[in-house]
Amino acid sequence: MSNKAARNLFIFGSLFFFAIFLAMTYDTLGKLDKRAPEITEEVDAGKKVWHKYDCIGCHTIFGNGSYFAPELAKITEKKPKGYLKKFLMDPKAVNPGASMPKFGITADEADKLLAFLDWSSKVDTNGWPPKPILASAAGVGGVELTQGQRIYQSLGCSGCHMINGIGGTTGPDLTKVGSRRDKAWLKGHFKDPDEFVKGSAMPKVEAPEADIEQLTDYMLTLK
């Protein structure tokens, strides 16, 4: 390859990939607002409070930031807002072991900040952060098991099937079964798998009607 050819490869190749990147950027910007709740004046005011106190200097939001303190994008789903408001205004008064200093955040600023964090918790982040798989499976760490999940465990379904990386690999993975099958199919299949999948090796689920109902509802949440 001549030097000129190498130079042209660099220049025009870079422009080519940048053009693709620009086209994707255009498409993405058109979709972002649909993937997040509406931004009210209070949410915007809260974002400004976020910047004023340089929260990103310690925390992360959507996983980006300083890794020194907890991730905050979904914090309002985890902790009650009344607690968070008091904590923001005077962290050590609420939790003497807290590392966060008192910045002088006012009650009004705390409300706005929480409105902003409430907004961030509802953004569609492609499933991030994932639910901790070991805690979800065991029903610990603040993750309560639903009735359907308990039945799934007591029947030993995970011996063959996998959900979110936990379970056996002999039967189909059920992580997204709710988006593949409807209620009638699932319920009928539990009662007689062979009727729905010819030659199925799965045994009929011998359980009361109410349990099968609960199990089906659980399957439908797996999307």
Binding site: A6, D54, Y67, P130
Partner: protein, 463 residues
């Protein structure tokens, strides 16, 4: 060996400022590391210390690039710099701006309310990682960079010797200046905020800066081992070309989880997995070019530039690719794994790059052919071994965090304060080791070529 053009001496101004900021960066870095153990360790809180740590890093590397460019362009254009007084003004204006920004951060540390918006603008700190500098400073920085680009462009226009090295160098610097612009406006949506923010951060370090690195590496290989220009420049084009082909769409690995559409998982995963390849190519190129080299006068310069190529690949390439696939990144995103990658990547790709440019050009600036290299090697090993262990401790902390917090569901604070404690302690120890290495380097920077060489010169003659 001396410089060919008197105006190249301006490079030393920039190098000196870069070296001072490097020392500050590492000093506050050690304080930040200690705050992981005792959050109240210092009068300033962690957020201020970390802003200083990462801003000093970005600025000293940029200032180092500027110094290197002011050295390279007159040499490549075979003429004196256009507008030397303007270059000096640009230097002092930059120093003044940076000093004001630093004072602003410290003031905010003592009085957070001082950052209350004035006409809708935060006067001291924008509250956005890496680009914390307030808007007024942003504008001054843009003016400084444009002045710098203009001076170099006018210098090239004097003789119109369009060498590949200065073309790519100026191209990379122009791209760098352009990519600062997406960080200069406010967006109401945090998703859009982060979307544009990654244009600045990613397209700098995995785009524009790697182009600059490719051009400077080519220049260094030519200077130190006397490699042929045609060959060096051809490989440079291919390397920086592939950096761009993989790096631009590789931005997608930052668009997995911030509220952006799912197709970025595919685009980011595929292109960023390819990103280490051009860096590996640079390592191969550095070895191929230097293998047969005889009569190398500046062995320390050669050593640093080859080390830069290797650690660019290990830090930016390998430590990046381990967590770049969405299936992995889903669990590791936002953990200490990222910190580990950040440290080794910046050290290998850019710290060693600026240090090698200093070791290759400073002897000429000081008018000496040879210099006592013992401090250069000692500081290299202190810094490199310490950094490797810093990175290993943070990687360990990140693995524990990923497992215990992300997979098991333990609380963030529990994992950080209890299970990762020993990693933080070890990191401070290696941080002090790194700081010692930097001290040796700083002493070397100020003494290089200014002390008698008799003892060193005598050895080969007697042998």
């Amino acid at each position: 060996m001396t410089i060919k053009h008197e105006s190249q001496k301006i490079a030393e101004y920039f190098y000196t400022f870069a070296v001072v900021l490097f020392l500050v960066q590492v000093l506050v870095g050690v304080i930040a590391a200690a705050q992981f153990i005792w959050p109240g360790f210092f009068v300033l809180n962690f957020n201020i210390i970390r802003s200083l740590h990462i801003n000093a890093l970005v600025v000293w590397l940029l200032v180092g690039f500027m110094g290197a460019t002011y050295y390279v362009v007159p040499e490549e254009s075979e003429t004196d710099l256009w507008g030397l007084p303007l270059a000096k003004l640009q230097f002092w204006a930059t120093v003044g701006t940076i000093a004001a920004v630093v004072l602003g951060y410290i003031w905010m540390g003592f009085n957070p309310q001082a950052n209350s918006p004035v006409m809708g603008i935060n006067p001291l700190n924008e509250g956005r990682e890496y680009i914390e500098a307030p808007r007024w400073a942003d504008i001054l920085i843009v003016i400084s960079v444009l002045t710098f680009l203009f001076i170099n462009f006018m210098t090239m226009m004097k003789t119109k010797k369009w060498t590949g090295i200065q073309g790519v160098l100026l191209g990379g610097l122009t791209f760098l200046a352009l990519m600062y612009l997406p960080g200069l406006f406010y967006t109401k949506s945090m998703v859009k905020d982060q979307f544009w923010w990654w244009w600045v951060v990613h397209l700098w370090v995995e785009g524009a800066w790697e182009i600059i690195a490719g051009a400077l590496l080519a220049f260094m290989l030519m200077k130190v081992v006397g490699a042929r220009r045609e060959v060096v420049e051809k490989w440079m084009y291919i390397e920086v070309g592939f950096v761009m082909f993989t790096g631009i769409l590789g931005t997608g690995h930052h668009y997995y989880w911030i509220g952006t559409p799912g197709y970025w998982l595919w685009v980011g995963g595929i292109f960023s997995s390819l990103e280490p390849l051009p860096l590996l190519f640079m390592v191969w190129d550095a070895f191929r070019t230097t293998r047969g080299a005889r009569n190398v006068t500046n062995k320390a310069g050669l050593f640093y530039s080859v080390a830069h190529a290797i650690f660019n690949f290990v830090g930016a390439g390998l430590w990046g690719v381990i967590h770049t696939l969405p299936q992995v990144n889903k669990w590791t995103h936002g953990t200490q794994i990222t910190t580990a990658h950040g440290h080794l990547a910046f050290y290998g790709a850019y710290v060693l790059l600026v240090l090698s440019m200093i070791y290759i050009t400073l002897p000429a600036l000081r008018g000496v052919k040879e210099f006592n290299t013992s401090r250069a090697y000692r500081s290299f090993w202190w810094m490199t071994i310490s950094m490797v262990f810093i990175v290993l401790t943070i990687t360990g902390a990140g693995m524990v965090q990923t497992y215990m917090e992300r997979l098991m569901g333990l609380d963030y604070v529990t994992v950080k304060a209890t299970y990762n404690l020993w990693f933080w302690i070890l990191r401070v120890i290696f941080g002090v080791g790194f700081f010692y290495g930097v001290l040796i380097f700083v002493v070397d920077f100020f003494k290089l070529g200014r002390e008698p060489m008799a003892a060193v010169n005598a050895v080969p003659e007697e042998a």
